[in-house]
Amino acid sequence: MSTIYYLIQNMLPVAIPLLLVALGGMFSERSGVINIALEGIMLFGAFFGALFVYTVQGVDMNPQVLLILGMLIAAFSGWVYSLLLSFAAVTMKANQTITGVSLNMIIPAAILLFSKMFFNSDGITTTKNFYIREVPILSKIPLLGEMFFQRTYLTVMIGFAILIVSIIIFYKTRFGLRLRACGEHPQAADSVGINVYFMRYAGVSLSGILGGIGGFFYSVGVMDGNVSGHSGVAGFGFLALAVMIFGQWKPGRIFFAALFFAFLRTLAYSVSLIPFLDGLGINQTYYKMLPYVATMVVLAFTSKKSRAPKAEGIPYDKSQR
């Protein structure tokens, strides 16, 4: 039983970045823009979030307040970085995949450059501890309390809140309806007076915000608050894309897909703690490959019937209706 608690407690901080970034990808792609730059956006957000923490960590402040402030900084910087994608993909009608790849390339190099120049290291190392041993009151709930409210991070609770808000925005608001129309049939949206360019900027911006937050949460929940230009976010941006596809571009399914991937990853890094797996004597590297291999298997089974937004990847050109 304690193994199960352990796995869940460790899985959630991993699942939340995946969930948020995949939701970001969903907003972007449902508006019609393929966002392969999520990896770079995450790293950008993580970097500025961590930089902020690094700058103010000497000040005596509640770590959870600091975390929320860092999150806001990360969200803002993720949004700024995503504007580069919107500008190229929406305004300049450039190839979205290539643009995304270039944005992914710039950031690790820029971080290494910056960190080497100013910290003489490969990234940022922070000392603030965001870990929550027990959430008051809630952690006393039998069963659930130990799973969700002990040995955790604030990121988990924020992540769940963002999921719920995302679902509401996506399905219940005028904004969500219009966004989905733009990714499916932009000509139709345009013909009823919806500004497709604006909606696509909005979709990509949401992915920037969520990507930035996801990146910061990755650095908090997975990397102990550190950011490195070398290892970056270890392909989490790409995994999030796979999560999004596996989740069929729908928020509810994306949630379960994120849990699935996070579970595999947690398992991979906890092999030594699980006697049964440890006993098999399989090289740890195989477990590390597991999420990537699982992505392939999942895509192989889902892509035949996968239903991507119809207009994704196609720049919208008003003059070519």
């Binding site: 190229a88 450039a94 390339m105 790409f238």
Partner: protein, 382 residues
């Protein structure tokens, strides 16, 4: 009179053909992207160290000229990964997996280099071929996924970059012959496995670059002159029309990815089998769980070269040139990563430079050719 008219006609056509030709627009759009990228790099340098910025930037621009041998040496692997990306691009496939294919090729090459016992004259050749096979296998898998299961090759090849990297790192670390654990890098290869040097003073430029250029030219001929190239480009332009014309789309996807993988694998082999500065040493690999940068630089090379094999030969030399320049800029305190940023910026702009450029070409054509037409009309009026 008639003679004059026909020269003017010729001139007009000449201009038209130049501005219309895809080569021209690709070249000028690459130029636009490069200039913007360099300007961005200069601005970053200005911010970092204003007092040394001009000095550093001069190193970036012309520093490589004095070390052309070394430029070619480092151009070899990215020329190959550039071809790997560009060739697949002609088919409409975005082979972002060149990194994984490169790493796999490199592993196969050193495996043969260390573990097989072969006569000195052919050992390095077999090792190169092994590298090609390794890359082919790593290209084949995304090809199969795309052709048979319709899985987007971008995601697949990213995943296979990670899988390949983890596998190779594990295999190398687990092999005591290849791996020097105290230095956490691979051992020096025996000299008969190394690619023979061209003997240019002060550099280790070797036969690899010659082979790479020859391969580029062969690819050019394949694309331009053969039925396979015709099918490949037709599929890249319009998949539906290629089905309609009875081309075997699935077979061509798999074949293209295998060839692309082989090219990147050769890049890995050329890189690892190259002799290095210290006598008797060779290039080494550090298994530290990082995806090979040469694969991603191949994307930059391919885009700058407009996916055209001959263009890729030049763009790989250019990228290598500014990379050398970037290392030299270290002499005045800059970090070489600045070049990676510049390369990223160049790709970013080259993604829409074509569009800016098309507008420019339209402008030029309208103005130049209109004048010409007026001249022709005036003459006819005479």
């Amino acid at each position: 009179m008639q003679g004059k008219n026909s020269t003017s006609q010729k001139n007009k056509n000449f201009l038209k053909n130049i501005t219309r030709s895809s080569g021209f627009s690709a070249f000028s759009s690459a130029l636009v992207a490069i200039i913007l990228g360099l300007v961005f790099g200069f601005i970053v340098m200005l911010f970092a160290q204003p007092e040394n910025a001009i000095k550093g930037f001069r190193y970036v621009l012309v520093g490589g000229l004095g070390r052309f041998g070394s430029v070619l040496y480092f151009a070899t692997p990215i020329l190959m990964t550039g071809l790997a990306v560009g060739f697949a691009f002609k088919m409409g496939l975005f082979n972002i997996g060149a990194s994984g294919q490169y790493t796999m090729g490199m592993f196969f090459a050193i495996y043969v280099g260390f573990m097989w016992d072969l006569p000195p004259g052919i050992h390095w050749i077999v090792a190169i071929l092994a590298g090609m096979v390794g890359g082919m296998i790593w290209g084949l898998i995304p090809g199969l996924f795309k052709a048979l299961l319709n899985v987007n090759e971008v995601i697949t090849s990213i995943m296979f970059n990670y899988i390949g990297m983890y596998l190779v790192d594990m295999w190398i670390q687990g092999n005591a012959v290849m791996f020097v654990s105290s230095k956490s890098r691979t051992n020096y290869l025996p000299s008969n496995v190394q690619i023979p040097s061209l003997g240019i003073d002060g550099s280790n430029v070797n036969f690899g670059i010659i082979l790479a250029i020859i391969i580029g030219i062969v690819l050019y001929i394949v694309l331009q002159k053969t039925t396979f190239g015709y099918e490949l480009k037709a599929t890249g332009h319009n998949k539906y029309a290629s089905d309609y014309a009875g081309m075997k789309g699935k077979k061509n996807i798999i074949l293209t990815m295998v060839i692309a993988g082989g090219l990147a694998g050769l890049g890995g082999a050329f890189a690892i089998l190259a002799p290095s500065a210290i006598a008797g040493s060779s290039m080494t690999y550090e298994p530290i769980n990082i995806i090979a940068a040469n694969g991603f630089n191949g994307i930059a090379v391919a885009l700058l070269g407009n996916a055209h094999p001959i263009g890729i030969i030049f763009s790989s030399i250019f990228i290598s040139h500014i990379q050398r320049g970037g290392s030299l800029a270290g002499l005045v305190g800059f970090k070489p990563e600045i070049i990676d940023v510049v390369i990223g910026v160049i790709i970013y702009f080259s993604a829409f430079a074509m569009i800016m450029n098309a507008a420019l070409a339209r402008f030029v054509k309208q103005h130049v050719t209109r004048k010409d037409e007026e001249v022709v009309k005036a003459k006819e009026a005479e």
